[in-house]
């Protein structure tokens, strides 16, 4: 697929790298030659120096032959304008990055479609939602819901106290008469393993578990996670994500938000009625103590600086806070942060990438999620009538090694997949796949 990315900022560059590794033809355009140079010498893609809102530059770059046009410049007006131009010049699908949530309202969808923008993404909003979701489900690193949460995927760190530690997959499934959950992947020392029956769960593994809504408690119990209720939340950094999190939570939780910039604090205090906004440096332990950090149930660090976020969460952990969330924008720190035990990691780039990813998969996709701490994806695909995947029971089909079919949603009921499961046409299939398996799985579903 030919993909045009306008804007080589953080999100643009990350998308370019990811799509390039997924064997797409990627064209990256930006005004700043320096930004392009770095990526050009390391990745097999085409970079063009040009203005993304210039008709001539877009024509010159042959935008009409693009299947997907993604505009992720720093400003939303630029993004919207370049999408409109690209669509008029012949790009098939356009995606614009915005930072105004009213554009995302359902009633405005048709309006933007008429303008020539097929999809809008708002990474900060998505990041905030993800943060909020993680606070509502303690004990997990990441949670993804499928088809109105009929199936749920958890990322859980397994410790010594878990029931399932040192057991093989076969032993774990033998614990129950009917399948309660499927362990679809294990991340061990930064490497992703698709487990087979003889694979053992070890201490410190990050496991990805797919389960139905009713078995959620069972999963957390088996993983040795105790439940506790979150009431007090401290947010570090009044960034867009921080503000959105506070907005979404302030009705039901006690929120304290610490922001270093005085003017910004004043503005936040104005906008966030029920949040206590504190002007100060979050790295100052005295300040944190004064604000009663030890009484907090959760700590969310979302400043613009990844290092600060990681260290502040480390500090909060030390002070006895059980749930910590850090925004880590530097991709190289993700493994590190994961290993030193920062609870949930939020990354705008990965979130934006998840949303765009679905357009690049050549199968009928209803949901995609890129997972943090692994390069694998969870897809929700719709099995087409007559496709290879519907031909036989799963154990009889020769499934590629890099794919794990976790569960199925068949007319409103969720089924966890086993070897005996047979997929029927129009089933929504939730599967876990490594990048190397995507093209194989596309073929099986079409």
């Amino acid at each position: 697929m030919r993909i045009f990315i306008a804007g080589a900022g953080e999100v643009g560059t990350h998308l370019a790298k990811m799509l390039c590794n997924a064997k797409h033809d990627v064209i990256l355009m930006d005004e700043d030659e320096e930004k392009l140079k770095q990526i050009d010498s390391h990745f097999d893609l085409m970079t063009i120096v040009g203005t993304i809102s210039s008709i001539e530059d877009l024509k010159e770059a042959n935008v009409k032959s693009c299947d997907l046009f993604i505009a992720v410049p720093p400003y939303q007006d630029m993004s919207i304008l370049s999408c409109i131009l690209a669509k008029k010049l012949g790009a098939t699908t356009t995606v614009a990055r915005v930072n105004n949530h009213e554009y995302l309202l359902p009633e405005n969808k048709e309006f933007f479609r008429q303008l020539g923008i097929d999809e809008l993404i708002y990474p900060e909003q998505l990041g905030a939602s993800e943060t909020v979701a993680s606070l509502k489900q303690v004990g997990t690193r990441q949670m993804v819901e499928f088809s109105g949460s009929k199936l749920v995927l958890f990322a859980i760190k397994v410790r010594d106290n878990a029931l399932i530690v040192d057991k093989t997959m076969a032993e774990i499934s033998a614990m129950y008469e009917t399948q309660q959950y499927n362990i679809v992947a294990i991340n061990r020392h930064g490497e992703t393993i698709i487990p087979r029956g003889s694979e053992v769960v070890l201490h410190n593994d990050l496991i990805y578990v797919l389960t139905t809504k009713s078995a959620v408690d069972q999963v957390l119990l088996d993983a040795g996670k105790t439940q506790f209720e979150i009431k007090n939340v401290m947010i570090l950094g009044g960034s867009r994500i921080g503000k959105k999190v506070a907005q979404q939570l302030e009705g039901n939780y006690n929120i304290k938000l610490i922001e270093i910039d005085k003017e910004k604090s004043a503005k936040l205090a104005d906008e966030l009625e029920r949040t206590l906004v504190i002007n100060g440096d979050g790295r100052n332990l005295e300040l944190l103590r004064d604000e009663g950090i030890h009484k907090m149930d959760a700590f969310v660090a979302v400043t613009a600086n990844s290092e600060v976020n990681i260290l502040a969460c480390q500090l909060a952990k030390k002070m006895g806070i059980k749930k910590t969330v850090a925004e880590v924008e530097n991709m190289d720190y993700i493994d590190l942060a994961e290993n030193i035990g920062i609870g949930t990691l939020i990354n705008k780039k990965l979130i934006a990438a998840s949303h765009i990813y679905r357009y690049t998969v050549r199968a009928h996709v209803s949901n995609v999620k890129c997972l943090i701490s692994t390069d694998a994806e969870v897809l929700e695909l719709i099995a087409q009538p007559g496709s290879k995947i519907t031909k036989d029971q799963l154990k009889e089909l020769k499934l590629p090694k890099d794919v794990y079919i976790g569960g199925i949603i068949r007319s409103d009921s969720a089924i966890l997949a086993t070897g005996l499961t047979r997929i029927q046409p129009q089933d929504k299939v939730v599967l876990f796949v490594l990048p190397s398996g995507i093209s194989k799985i596309e073929k099986m579903f079409n």
Binding site: D25, I27, S41, D44, L45, M46
Partner: protein, 483 residues
């Protein structure tokens, strides 16, 4: 630590590719039923068998390579290709001396076209075909070919592509490097076929037509005749060759634009305009002097001789239809200067390249302006865009190193007892990948009498020139090997 396993894997695979092409020349030998058939087959075996073994052992080598591996693998590939490529010449006793065979092969792959052969027509067709084929392979580049046909090189391919096709700014025809390589080769093959047909229609034998197309499009200059293209006196044939030499010396990216109907882009390209007008201007000067001095009888012949030599030298092909050494000294000097020019960037030609000369000239001219307006910001403009200062620096460094190498090499060659004009000619023609030189290595003579050591040294210069200096020179710098 360099990824040596990957480097070896690439070398192994490419040896197999080279062996397959040897089988092709073996097929020609079979068609003509000449004695050289077993030598082609043996050579192919010597390439394919070890190549396959190496590739089989190392097939799981990690494919992530950096800039260093890129430069190293490209230099190695060219040396290994020449070492194995000399086998048909050497085994068949067409060229009995190992040194001579290596010189001839390196001169072939780098599209230089300097020869040590004294009686080309006596060689069997298979050998002549191989001699032309290596130029054709070297013309567009061995790595570019391998990227086009071995897609697995994908990721590491980028680094290798940059090392083999340096240029000023990389031109990609497609987001993927393998697709770019395929497009470049398709244009290359298409031009070669077109020329073959035209030459054949014009009266050449089919065999000669193919061989000459190979060496024209590669701007190589090996001919199947001892007298070079002068053997074919037909003006039509000479004009066809002029046209295709000129095309081969043009940036292939422009050919791609032209084929996509963007003629405006071609005409507006600054390098192309300079290349075109230098060719025409110098040809008119030389042609008029040839005619008015009475050396050549008719206007058409004077124009054709002049144009042919000018295009042949500026594109670094090195065919000859006239001996420029017998021209007036004024013309010989112009010819010497042409040798430094080279074709366009992104062409199959060698030399300094027109774009670098243009940037050098502009920068030097603006330097005067900068003296008067010390605080003015005066960027060098190229294709009506300001060129980044680091690119200008790169061009200046290139030209300084180029001249330095020529100077030092002339000293080395003269130590072996060569005259001034022969040393200068041999060195300039080798590093510029042209073919004929001056003095005892002029268009009518050849390199047979150069001392053994001199042949190895000139072969090295050819490689340095073909990979545009930096790729090879870098390997001799301590920065490359230090952590």
């Amino acid at each position: 630590m360099l990824n040596y396993r990957f480097i070896l894997l690439v070398l192994g695979l490419l040896l197999v590719v080279e062996g397959v092409f040897m089988l092709l020349s073996g097929f020609v030998a079979l068609l003509y039923g000449e004695y050289d058939l077993p030598y082609h087959l043996t050579s192919a075996g010597i390439c394919i068998v070890p190549g396959m073994i190496i590739a089989a052992i190392l097939k799981d080598a990690p494919k992530n390579i950096g800039k260093r591996e890129g430069y190293l693998v490209v230099s190695m590939v060219w040396i290994v290709f020449s070492l194995f490529g000399l086998l048909p010449f050497w085994l068949s006793n067409a060229i009995p001396s190992f040194t001579d065979a290596f010189f001839e092969t390196m001169s072939g792959f780098t599209t230089t076209g300097s020869s040590i052969l004294n009686d080309i027509e006596a060689l069997p067709h298979g050998i002549l075909f191989w001699r032309s084929l290596i130029q054709w392979l070297g013309g567009m580049g061995i790595i570019v070919l391998s990227l086009a046909i071995l897609p697995f090189l994908g990721v590491g391919g980028m680094q290798m592509f940059v090392a083999e096709v340096p240029g000023i700014v990389p031109d990609k025809l497609h987001p993927r490097i393998t697709e770019t390589a395929k497009r470049l080769y398709s244009i290359y093959v298409a031009y070669t076929l077109m020329e073959t047909v035209l030459l054949w229609v014009g009266g050449m034998s089919f065999f000669d037509a193919i061989c000459h197309s190979f060496t024209t499009m590669a701007t190589g200059g090996y001919s199947t005749k001892q007298a070079s293209v002068a053997y074919f006196s037909s003006p039509f044939l000479q004009y066809v060759i002029i046209l295709f030499m000129f095309i081969a010396g043009t940036n292939f990216t422009l050919s791609y634009s032209a084929l996509h109907g963007k003629m405006k882009k071609v005409i507006q390209d600054e390098e192309f305009r300079n290349y075109f007008w230098i060719t025409i201007g110098v040809s008119i000067i030389i042609g008029s002097v040839l005619y008015f001095s009475g050396d050549v009888a008719t206007v058409e012949k004077a124009w054709r001789d002049s144009l042919f030599q000018v295009v042949s030298l500026i594109t670094t092909t090195g065919y000859a239809t006239a001996d420029y050494l017998v021209w007036l000294p004024f013309l010989s000097v112009i010819v010497l200067l042409l040798m430094f020019l080279g074709g366009s960037a992104g062409s199959t030609g060698g030399g300094i390249k027109v774009v670098r000369i243009v940037l050098l000239m502009k920068n030097s001219y603006y330097e005067l302006k900068r003296l008067i307006h010390p605080n003015a910001i005066i960027p060098v403009r190229y294709n009506s865009r300001a060129v980044a200062p680091n690119i200008v620096n790169n061009v200046l460094a290139f030209i300084v190193i180029y001249m330095l190498i020529i100077g030092v090499s002339m000293v080395i060659m003269s130590m072996m007892g060569l005259e001034l004009d022969t040393s200068l000619g041999a060195v300039a023609t080798s590093i510029g990948n042209i073919g004929p030189g001056f003095g005892e290595v002029g268009p009518a003579a050849n390199f047979y009498y150069i001392p053994t050591l001199g042949k190895w040294f000139l072969a090295f210069l050819m490689l340095v020139g073909r990979l545009e200096l930096f790729t090879v020179i870098l390997l001799f710098s301590s920065y490359f090997w230090k952590g």
